[in-house]
């Protein structure tokens, strides 16, 4: 039982980060119908921003967080701006637009490689070295902070979308752009805000990941799992993305612990395929029914 609980707790740590990044995908997609394939490289940018400010420049933790949020917002806006340019100004197809997000990701990746090189970098944040033991389950203060921070961000976002005017405006735009525009909501501003929030979530995910997995230019590949988590939850459902993230993290660990560690990563995608066979829209996506 102890081993099972330990696997679950360890899985929740990575799951919380998948959830954070997955929400970024969903927010952007819900507002703009665009899948942001640069999300993984925004994660990487967040990690390196953390390393630059906290490790290399020895700035305080709070300054690091502000810098990461700023970089995430800026890059998110930048990618969103390019996407808008493609779709609106150049009337480009969705495929071309998605390729633009891929291209931005490659540019970010190459920039990180040029500046920092290929070596992994640590982000030495620990919040205490001694693991806490609860009912035989060990968890480090860092892991608790990662889960807690991710949960706090999700709660804040949830509150933002439910109780603030701006959040409601974003939800209205995601539901029906035309109606939102008729109600006086600036759809352009809502798009920009969505990209900004998506970028911030990706960058914060990277900042939390770096102490756990070390930063290197290719670390953005973790966003592929977050993408899978978003699909499991239903690609337009925020609660679904959160649950999808945690389910994927825990499933990976249990599969690795009880089946085969060699296929720990592969088994997660196998499960994704199985879930989609049973419920193609994901667990929380409601199929839109058009009455004629």
């Amino acid at each position: 039982m102890e081993l099972f609980l330990q696997q679950v707790v360890s899985g929740m740590v990575s799951g919380s980060i998948y959830a954070l990044i997955a929400i970024g995908y969903v927010i952007i997609y819900k507002a703009t119908d665009v899948v942001n394939f640069a999300q993984g490289d925004l994660v990487m940018a967040g990690a390196y921003t953390g390393i630059l400010t906290y490790s290399l420049l020895s700035l305080p933790f709070g300054v690091m967080v502000i810098a990461v949020v700023g970089v995430g917002a800026g890059l998110g806006l930048g990618v969103g701006g390019m996407v808008s340019l493609m779709l609106v100004r150049f009337q480009s197809s969705m495929v071309n637009t998605i390729i633009v997000t891929l291209a931005v990701g490659i540019v970010l990746n190459s920039t990180a490689m040029l500046i920092f090189g290929p070596n992994p970098y640590p982000l030495p944040i620990t919040f205490g070295k001694v693991p806490i033991s609860l009912w035989g389950v060990r968890i480090t203060p860092l892991s608790l902070v990662v889960i807690g921070f991710s949960a706090a961000v999700m709660v804040v976002l949830s509150g933002f979308f439910r109780f603030t005017r701006l959040g409601k405006a974003m939800r209205a735009t995601a539901q029906n752009r035309d109606a939102a525009a008729l109600m006086g909501i600036s759809v352009r501003k809502m798009f920009a805000l969505s990209w900004m929030i998506g970028g911030v979530l990706g960058a914060l995910g990277g900042m939390l990941l770096a102490p756990l997995i070390l930063a290197e230019p290719s670390m953005g590949i973790v966003a592929v799992k977050a993408f899978a988590a978003a699909i499991i939850g239903g690609f337009t459902s925020l609660p679904g993305a959160i649950i999808g993230g945690f389910v994927l993290g825990v499933l990976e660990n249990l599969a690795g612990g009880y089946m085969s560690t060699a296929f720990k990563d592969g088994i997660a995608y196998f499960a994704l395929g199985a879930i989609l066979l049973l419920k193609p829209t994901g667990f929380f996506e409601r199929r839109a029914v058009r009455r004629v």
């Binding site: 490689m113 090189g117 290929p118 060990r138 892991s143 997995i213 560690t261």
Partner: protein, 409 residues
């Protein structure tokens, strides 16, 4: 008389045709003032730490050689291709360099996985290849005349030496292995297990794998912990090795760590921090990169002068040294092959390299006409107080390498 004349005419014709019947000396890539060399490796992707280091070290050597006038008056012209740490990338890079760029010889700085996939093309083309990174035994066995491994260690020998070190110096009763699930990890682990069983009649209590790009090893650590090992042998790359060290500490797995050369680098100390305390790693550097040995200090100085914009404090590291030394060896063989440079002459010159170590920066490299694995000696370092210290234990030797080469393939 008539038949004698016919016979003599026939002999004369044969004599005149003989030079045409002999295979022409292959001078592809050799011009009046340049020798074109192809260099390909994993400069991006999972192995980029090793590939870019080897490339930078190699280019430092190339620039030094060209600055001193080249080899017999010919400058070395290098064409570089990235294999992206993938077999498909390696095959494409090799094809381009061989058939499109028509290089004289190749330097490979890629991993075992990509290079093993490329071997059929390399063997078919008969272009001389000097491997600087790949460690798979398949690179040099079956033996092929034009393929050499200069500065990385044959995984079969490394696996045996790690097993020997663990059993002879640490003497555990319970040994477990954590290995990467690709060619590098699988093959290395296979030979560790083979040596443990054949020489010491010991079977590992657990053999656990992880994906090369894995970012969380908690499942693996928990699986190992269940078997209560005294020693865990890591056959893995740098980042998963550092992640293992952290997570093993977090999850209470206190086994002694002995790792392969890829996992134990200069930067491991900063990556794993206090979690690396007591961990031991295989290395083929007789002197550590951070030591104050005059040869290492001189190398570091010229490396930093060549790469002033590299901000990484962990460099130069082993891959940089490896690339530099192996390329110096490459140039020495070009020199020994003479002004009338041919591929055959270059291969012969490589086979005559004896005890090459470039100021003692690496363990000595020797090739023969039947053994193209250059290195056979290694040592181990231990991390104590966030510093690396040599253990002073030297392992290996040509006798063991010859034993491996004599084994049935």
């Amino acid at each position: 008389m008539k038949h004698a004349k016919t016979f003599l005419t026939f002999l004369a014709l044969i004599w005149l045709a003989l030079p045409g019947l002999a295979p022409a000396a292959d001078r592809t890539g050799v011009a009046a003032d340049t020798i074109t060399i192809g260099m390909f490796g994993f400069y991006t992707g999972a192995g980029s730490f090793y590939g870019t280091g080897a490339r930078d070290g190699a280019m430092l050597a190339i620039n030094e050689i060209n600055g001193a006038g080249g080899v017999h008056g010919r400058k070395l012209k290098v064409i570089i291709e990235d294999d992206r740490s993938t077999p498909a990338g390696s095959i494409a890079a090799a094809r381009k360099l061989i058939y499109s760029d028509k290089v004289f010889a190749l330097i490979n700085q890629g991993g075992s996985n990509p290079l093993v996939a490329t071997l059929p093309i390399l063997k078919e083309s008969n272009v001389p290849v000097l491997g600087q990174m790949p460690s798979s035994p398949k690179v040099t066995r079956p033996f092929h005349r034009t393929i050499f491994r200069a500065a990385s260690f044959n995984d079969q020998l490394q696996g045996w030496l790690i097993a020997d070190f663990v059993m002879q110096h640490l003497k555990p009763s319970r040994v477990a292995i954590l290995a990467q699930s690709d060619e590098y990890g699988k093959v290395g682990a296979q030979y560790v297990i083979e040596r443990l069983q054949a020489q010491y009649k010991v079977a590992p209590v657990a053999v656990v794998e992880h994906d090369r790009d894995a970012t969380d090893l908690s499942a693996q650590v928990l699986k190992l912990k269940e078997t209560k090992p005294e020693v865990v042998i890591l056959y893995t790359y740098l980042r998963p090795g550092a992640i293992y060290l952290r997570q093993a500490k977090e999850l209470g797995l206190g086994a002694q760590v002995v790792g392969s050369v890829a996992a134990g680098q200069r930067v491991t100390v900063s990556l794993a921090g206090e979690n690396a305390e007591g961990a031991m790693f295989f290395t083929y550097l007789p002197i550590l990169e951070e030591s104050d040995n005059p040869a290492m200090v001189a190398f570091t100085k010229k490396w930093k002068a060549a790469y002033p914009n590299v901000i990484d404090p962990g460099r130069p590291a082993l891959p940089d040294i490896l690339g530099y030394v192996a390329t110096r060896l490459f140039a020495k063989a070009l020199e020994a092959a003479g002004k009338d440079l041919t591929r055959e002459g270059f291969v012969e010159a490589l086979e005559n390299v004896r005890e090459f170590s470039q100021d003692g920066l690496m363990m000595p490299i020797t090739f023969t006409s039947t053994n193209h694995d250059g290195m056979s000696q290694a040592t181990f370092f231990v991390i104590k107080g966030q510093q690396r210290q040599m253990t002073g234990v030297v392992v290996g030797g040509r006798k063991l390498l010859d034993e491996i080469n004599a084994m049935k393939q």
